[in-house]
């Protein structure tokens, strides 16, 4: 029964923003305080409800936890089915965490049409949370698409000068990708009907189809895998499908950028991890050279383009292309390190990049420009601001003791195992990343300060409150990443087994593990209890 209560709690945390949006619809337009406080309250409540799940999660199991399903359209096998494993839990928590920040950072920046703004923001929040908890393909698709509408409005109404173009581009790009996903989903659905005779849209049944799909013709597999790939690659965005991202980021209001960078992009990587890889292991391995090449191009190209940007927001946007390329590289390594690193990097990117966007918004709100050339010497007059900016920059670069370092390290570890040369190339991306971020920091913070900039006040208490959680998380994860690692451990092991069933039995690996045991390297030795479901290795020492 408590299991059921937990599921309800999870649903509550997910749908509270939506309910709040409906309630706010009935508040008269001119009560602006109610919208701000109501939206903040709803997202904070949703966050508060979500935190206990972090502790309640059973780290020894790779099963989907708090799973529950209700019959929805039985004749088609569609269920309202929810539940989370470690991977979705982390992203779900990231979403509830970013929610209040997004609300709070719009507090003063948004001055017109407050009601609509907060309503759309709350609807968006629920749609994103929904993607992570759903265990049904149909429901996944519904949330996946619904998400577009509020984002479209956020950019289209409260965006910059080119907002219409950016909003439509975002919408159409993503829609074009996901309609093909729908066709591919239906194709697998029918394949399932043919082989098992069951009508089932659940994610588990789709993943269970992997062996059957692997027996189909090569063309069939490749086409379906590409349909999935396109939908997710556009969302990530991978090179060359990234062109919507700079437009959307630059034109979006700050909260839009924060959500885009913090969560929306993670939907793409989540789709890869949850759907593309487990369903099409064979096709993915066939296409791997292409995927790796695209990821590497993304890393280098994003970094190079970021380097020459004159607009701070655009710079951060392109840095996202580069960082997400890094995530993709980790995912395509198809080994535990790669996955863990990629997931870790997703969380990190969801903390540092929103931080950077917020930092850009601070000066933008004061001076209404984002051009790097307009600033300089800010560290003289805005010490708190420059400190926070520096922490965020360092976190994004991957300085040890901050969160970014660990993610990048593990990704490189994983990709080196799989494709040594790719890891070498990716490392240049990190160097370039340090270059453009530090160069921007230097140009904005140091040098001589102009009179206009001298008048800019330092951070207000509200702004500090917005930054504080991000800074705390960046440092905390950097110092003590183990809780996150533990959570993703078993689900990642399961994923690896889905991709290569005998990965953990590979002779070279067991030899290595044996050797490690003899030499006392506890992190590398074989799992202690190989009989249970989570036959995985554990990076750090046993609990």
């Amino acid at each position: 029964m408590s299991q059921f209560a937990n599921t309800l709690l999870m649903l509550a945390a997910t749908f509270i923003p939506f309910v709040a949006a409906i309630v706010l619809l009935f508040v008269p337009k001119d009560r602006s305080e109610i919208f701000k406080k109501g939206a903040l309250f709803a997202t904070v409540l949703s966050f508060a409800l979500s935190v206990p799940f972090f502790f309640a999660y059973d780290r020894t199991s790779d099963a989907v936890q708090w799973a529950q399903s209700w019959s929805w359209i039985p004749s088609l096998g569609i269920q309202f089915s929810v539940g989370m494993d470690g991977i979705s839990l982390l992203l779900w928590l990231l979403t509830t965490f970013i929610g209040p920040i997004a609300i709070l950072c719009s507090w003063e920046a948004i001055t017109e049409r407050l009601k609509e703004y907060y309503v759309w923001l709350l609807v968006l929040q629920t749609a994103m949370l929904g993607v992570f908890i759903t265990q049904d393909m149909f429901l996944f698709y519904v949330f996946w698409e619904v998400m577009l509408v509020p984002m479209y409005f956020l950019i289209g109404i409260w965006g910059g000068p080119q907002k219409l173009y950016a909003a439509i581009k975002l919408f159409l790009y993503t829609l074009a990708g996901s309609v093909l996903l729908l066709v591919a989903v239906l194709a697998i659905y029918f394949l399932q009907v043919e082989t098992n005779g069951t009508l089932d849209f659940s994610l588990a049944s789709f993943q269970a189809m992997a062996p059957v799909i692997a027996e189909q013709t090569r063309t069939y597999q490749t086409l379906l895998a590409l349909a999935f790939f396109l939908a997710f690659a556009i969302k990530v965005p991978m090179f060359p499908f990234h062109t919507w991202l700079p437009d959307a980021h630059v034109q979006a209001p700050t909260a839009g950028s924060v959500i885009l960078a913090g969560i929306l992009l993670k939907m793409g990587t989540y789709g890869f991890v949850r759907l593309l890889l487990p369903i099409f292991p064979t096709a993915v391995k066939d296409l791997m050279p292409w995927f790796i090449a695209l990821s590497l191009i993304g890393i280098i190209y994003g970094a190079l383009v970021a380097m020459i940007q004159k607009d701070m927001k655009k710079l951060v946007a392109y840095s996202s292309v580069s960082h997400l390329g890094m995530c993709m590289l980790g995912i395509f390594a198809l080994n535990p390190y790669g996955f863990k690193g990629a997931l870790f990097q997703m969380i990190n990117h969801g903390i540092s990049t929103p931080g950077l966007f917020l930092a850009v918004a601070v000066v933008y709100d004061r001076r209404h420009t984002r051009m790097i050339a307009d600033f300089g010497g800010l560290s003289e007059t805005m010490p708190v601001y420059s400190t926070i900016f520096m922490i965020m920059t360092m976190s994004s670069i991957g300085l040890p003791l901050l969160n970014g370092f660990i993610g990048e390290l593990i990704i490189l570890q994983g990709s080196f195992q799989a494709f040594p040369w790719a890891a070498v190339v990716a490392t240049t991306g990190i160097i370039l990343g340090a270059a453009y971020m530090l160069w921007m920091f230097q140009r904005v913070m140091f040098g001589s300060i102009s009179d206009v900039n001298r008048k800019m006040p330092d951070l207000t208490p509200r702004e500090i409150i917005v930054f504080a959680p991000l800074v705390v998380m960046a440092i905390w994860i950097g110092l003590y990443p183990r809780p996150l690692m533990d959570i993703m451990d078993r689900p990642v092991a399961k994923l690896v087994r889905q991709l290569s069933p005998d990965y953990y039995q590979a002779p070279s690996l067991s030899a290595d593990q044996e050797k490690a045991k003899q030499e006392g390297m506890r992190g590398m030795e074989a799992p202690q209890n190989p009989n249970n479901t989570g036959n995985s290795e554990v990076i750090e020492e046993k609990r």
Binding site: I73, S75, L76, Y141, E145, G156, L172, V179, L180, L199
Partner: protein, 493 residues
């Protein structure tokens, strides 16, 4: 032979309940023209609207109470599917009448003929939904189309209206000619034995052996004639002009009721009658469906006029509906829906999104705002609910979940894929992504632009109710999927 006459009369009397609804409509409409028109003074013509609504409400009951069987020597058959389509047509007519009343008042164009013609057209549709013989199909189409020709050109003071009416009439008459010629060829090819669809299904297979050219030619001519009626590319040319020139409620009417009836007849002819010789027409129909989806959506991208845009969008939607006709297979017992069931679901959902959108356009037109896409600018400030509802209708037309348009598209694409129309389905989903562009264009105007006139727009009661009902149905969409599926499950051809 008095005995023969007597038995004929008895048979007719016995089958009379099958046509109770259309005959009731014809009766009422005729009485309205004479002597009804004389009874109500010229300045009180509004009353006809109420009377028409009452008539239509009774019609709904008559439709529901019609017995399920075949009659008139198998020329007409009433089954649940027939009734379901008849109900869609009647609902569309009710909404049309509700929309028209105010607009006609404003234009000082209130006449009894308007309502009578609508009722005549509806009776044609009700016949058409039940028709199971090429001859009854032909005559019902004519009964349906003739009043609509007049209604399209109803605004006789406007050149645009007259042009639309004449164009529609000429092309419509022309296509009827082609169709009747096709029917006669088919009739001749079977040795002059039958025009009944069920019997044609078997007879045509035999006829194919000896008179293949004649059958093929006949079938293709019927295809062309029907394609004209439902406006499929390349026989769609009349649609934008007719939609644009007609009074807006009639445009809404044309896009839903006659289209529903005609497409159902289309499905009956090709899904049942000509199904066993599908090799003669299937390629042509596939090309037509693909062309409709592509051309309809692409042409809609450049439109400035709301009505023209929706006209092209309706061409595209008919392209999607053709997928359902293509996938219909009466010989196949399958676990999922037949093509006609899917077609019904699609038409049903299209009814609500389409009427909702047209209700908003009619309302704005009534306020003197016009019907260009630009006229929608700033609607979200002036009337948030109307703008929101319009947004729902447009997103639903584009097939965005969780709205009803997505659900019916989902079911349709699912079925089409199941029957192996992979390429067509891919074209369909891609073009529906394209269609989002022009629907979003209107949403842009409503939400991202502002109107010079900031005053709030107050909706009248009828518009309010109509838009709200449509919006609720559209919004329920996927969440009501279970019940929609159950309903569709229970209606059968």
């Amino acid at each position: 032979m008095p005995g023969f006459a007597q038995s004929l009369l008895a048979a007719l009397w016995q089958d009379a309940p099958l046509v109770q609804a259309p005959f009731f409509l014809i009766g009422v409409a005729s009485l309205m023209l004479w002597p009804g028109d004389l009874l109500i003074p010229r300045d009180k013509k509004r009353r006809w609207s109420l009377l028409t609504q009452i008539t239509l409400a009774i019609t709904i009951f008559l439709i529901i109470l019609t017995p399920h069987r075949s009659g008139f020597s198998s020329m007409l058959r009433i089954d649940t599917m027939t009734q379901a389509f008849q109900l869609i047509c009647t609902l569309a007519t009710i909404a049309t009448v509700a929309l028209s009343t105010k607009l006609l008042d404003l234009m000082h164009e209130h006449t009894v003929e308007f309502y009578a013609l609508l009722l005549f057209a509806l009776s044609g549709m009700l016949f058409l939904c039940g028709a199971t013989d090429l001859v009854t199909i032909y005559f019902s189409i004519e009964l349906m189309a003739l009043p609509i020709y007049v209604l399209v050109g109803y605004l006789r003071e406007q050149e645009r209206g007259i042009e639309a009416g004449v164009k529609y009439f000429l092309l419509g008459a022309f296509s009827s000619g082609i169709m009747i010629y096709g029917i006669s060829l088919v009739f001749g090819a079977t040795g002059g034995t039958t025009t009944n669809l069920d019997r044609l299904a078997s007879e045509l297979v035999i006829a194919m052996d000896s008179r293949a050219t004649m059958v093929t030619l006949g079938v293709l001519m019927v295809l062309v004639g029907m394609a004209f009626k439902v406006a499929v590319v390349p026989f769609h040319m009349w649609t934008p002009d007719a939609y644009d020139g007609a009074p807006t409620p009639i445009t809404a009417f044309m896009a839903s009721a006659p289209k529903a009836a005609a497409i159902f007849a289309f499905a009956r002819i090709f899904g049942v009658g000509f199904h066993n010789i599908s090799n003669t027409w299937i390629l042509g129909m596939e090309y037509m469906a693909a062309a409709s989806m592509i051309l309809g959506n692409v042409a809609a991208l450049r439109q400035q006029s709301m009505k023209r845009m929706l006209a092209y969008s309706s061409i595209a939607h008919v392209g999607y509906m053709m997928l359902a006709i293509l996938s219909n297979d009466p010989n196949l017992s399958v676990m999922s829906f037949s093509g006609v069931q899917t077609l019904w679901l699609y038409v049903f959902s299209y009814l609500f999104m389409n009427f909702g959108a047209f209700a908003v356009i009619t309302f704005l037109q009534g306020k003197g705002e016009g019907e260009r896409i630009e006229d929608f600018r700033g609607l979200s400030h002036r009337n948030p609910w109307l703008a929101f509802a319009m947004m729902l209708f447009l997103l639903s037309l584009a097939g965005i979940p969780p709205l009803i348009g997505f659900f019916s598209k989902f079911i349709l694409f699912k079925m089409a894929l199941e029957r192996g129309f992979v390429l067509l389905t891919v074209i369909a989903v891609l073009t529906s992504a394209v269609s989002a562009y022009y629907y979003l264009g209107v949403i842009n105007q409503m939400y991202f632009r502002s109107h010079p006139n900031k005053e709030p727009l107050k909706t009248d009661r009828v518009t309010g109710y109509l838009v709200s009902i449509c919006a609720i149905v559209v919004l329920l969409g996927v969440s009501a999927g279970r019940w929609l599926i159950e309903v569709v499950d229970n209606i059968k051809l």
